[in-house]
């Protein structure tokens, strides 16, 4: 049993990408660490989020952050692109899978591709398998968030989400995850990536009304 993180949810919209993950580090069924950050800014173009083993995730995040410092110190006007981070993570994860010693994570790489002038989002898992998609959810999000996100996307018939629509999809996905995932947590962080840069929000909270079970709950107001 090791400390692990829950779902990470990512939604692309016309101008950028939104990534969200709750702030709990679970130790089996124990909500051990309440203020864990699982979505991170890498540089002005890229953000990552990870679920799974937090030690492994932090290790790779630390490597990425060192790579960013190396870039900035070199002062040659280049920085890691979203695809570069995506490729690097894929190669490292796949390499460890081949040694039967995986980094036990699923990463979402969210970025703004400045050359193509388009948002970018991709997912890499512990097998080193990676794919690009405009909606991604890891862990329990696969079951609870992704079907909802897909239905919302299909309703748009190929037109990308607007920022407001993406926010709604994200908020509802995070609320659903808190309500249904036993290891879920209402407190989460959101990272927004667009052409202007990467912005990490303050902590947000899911508001869930347990209407069906209200009758069964006895409390101060009953």
């Amino acid at each position: 049993r090791r400390v692990h993180g829950g779902a990470v949810v990512g939604v692309c919209y016309d101008q950028g990408v939104l990534l969200a993950a709750d702030t709990v580090g679970s130790f089996g069924s124990l909500a051990k660490l309440k203020h864990v950050s699982r979505v991170h800014k890498i540089n002005d173009m890229v953000a990552v989020g990870f679920s799974g083993d937090l030690a492994d995730g932090d290790c790779l995040l630390n490597e990425l952050q060192n790579m960013v410092i190396d870039d900035s110190v070199l002062d040659d006007g280049t920085e890691l692109s979203p695809r570069a981070v995506f490729c690097w993570l894929t190669r490292v994860l796949h390499h460890r899978r081949n040694k039967l010693d995986p980094f036990y994570n699923q990463f979402i790489v969210a970025g703004f591709d400045k050359k193509a002038n388009k948002p970018f989002m991709g997912c890499v898992n512990l097998l080193g398998y990676s794919w690009e998609e405009s909606i991604i959810a890891t862990g329990m999000g696969l079951h609870f968030a992704l079907p909802y996100m897909r239905s919302q996307q299909e309703a748009k018939s190929g037109v990308p989400f607007t920022f407001e629509e993406a926010q709604t999809v994200l908020t509802k996905s995070m609320a659903c995850l808190y309500a249904r995932d036993c290891r879920g947590w209402p407190q989460y962080q959101v990272v927004k990536v667009d052409g202007a840069g990467v912005v990490k929000s303050d902590v947000q909270y899911s508001r869930v009304a347990f209407k069906e079970s209200a009758d069964y709950i006895e409390g101060r107001n009953s």
């Binding site: 630390n62 060192n66 410092i69 190396d70 110190v73 002062d75 040659d76 006007g77």
Partner: protein
């Protein structure tokens, strides 16, 4: 310099009868042949200025391909005088060392720790016959919370001292005279960029030296990062330096 090695200058592992290690002295000579660099410590940061000789008009400036200002970590800047390739090696060592410290300790390396470690490395190259000393003076500067702005300079012998203002290279004597006149503690970086530029322009010897370009950077309390001067600031400083030179020339007519 008239003292000749007379056989005691062939390796750094030998003292001369009058107590000198000639290889180190010769390394210092290499630095004295290089373009002037200086650093000034003000109230809110440190300013670097470099007299960068233009070796060829075909150099591409925007790639920073020819530069004597480097970032060691995000918060530490370095200016180098002397043999450029030796400087690049020393900068690379400093960068690796700073990165390792960050990994091991979880915090960015404090400037005095880095300066001492790089100085030790430079000193190590003065002990053996198999290798030669670095022909480099490296000025390191940073601004740290609770400490403020700091400058350290490492010499080929491996000594390292802290300074309020320092220069190295061709015109270091002239530059030091000018620096001593300034009340550095009362000046902000915005003031200092003008003074630094002025001193570089004044120290440049038009008759003997190649044409030069002014290269400048700073580390300020505001950003806590080593950054090249923004374009508008560099233009401002450059113009000030040129003007000061004209005034000096017209004064002496």
């Amino acid at each position: 310099m008239s003292s000749i090695g007379q056989g005691y200058d062939l390796s750094a592992s030998q003292f001369s009868p009058d107590g000198k290690v000639f290889q180190v002295e010769y390394a210092q000579k290499a630095v004295e042949n290089s373009g002037t660099i200086l650093a000034l410590r003000g109230s809110d940061g440190v300013v670097f200025a470099v007299e960068k000789f233009v070796q060829s008009k075909l150099h591409r400036q925007e790639a920073n391909s020819v530069t004597r200002l480097f970032s060691i970590d995000e918060h530490i800047g370095a200016a180098v005088a002397g043999i450029l390739t030796d400087s690049l090696a020393l900068v690379e060592y400093a960068r690796d060392d700073a990165a390792e410290y960050r990994e091991d300790h979880g915090i960015p390396v404090p400037l005095r720790v880095l300066a001492n470690r790089v100085a030790d490395y430079a000193h190590a190259h003065t002990l053996y016959s198999a290798i030669r000393p670095f022909g480099v003076n490296m000025i390191l500067a940073s601004v740290e919370a609770g400490i403020g702005p700091q400058i350290f300079m490492i010499e080929p012998s491996g000594v390292v001292y802290g300074y309020r203002g320092v220069a190295a290279g061709k015109a270091k004597q002239t530059a030091h005279t000018e620096i001593e006149k300034l009340k550095l503690g009362d000046m902000t970086c915005d003031d200092l960029i003008k003074e630094a530029s002025r001193i570089i322009y004044v120290c440049h010897d038009e008759t003997k030296d190649k044409p030069f370009e002014l290269e400048m950077s700073w580390v300020r309390a505001e950003e806590q990062k080593h950054l090249r001067l923004p374009d508008n600031k560099l233009k401002e400083a450059d113009a000030h330096g040129k003007q000061a030179l004209e005034e000096q020339d017209s004064d002496s007519d």
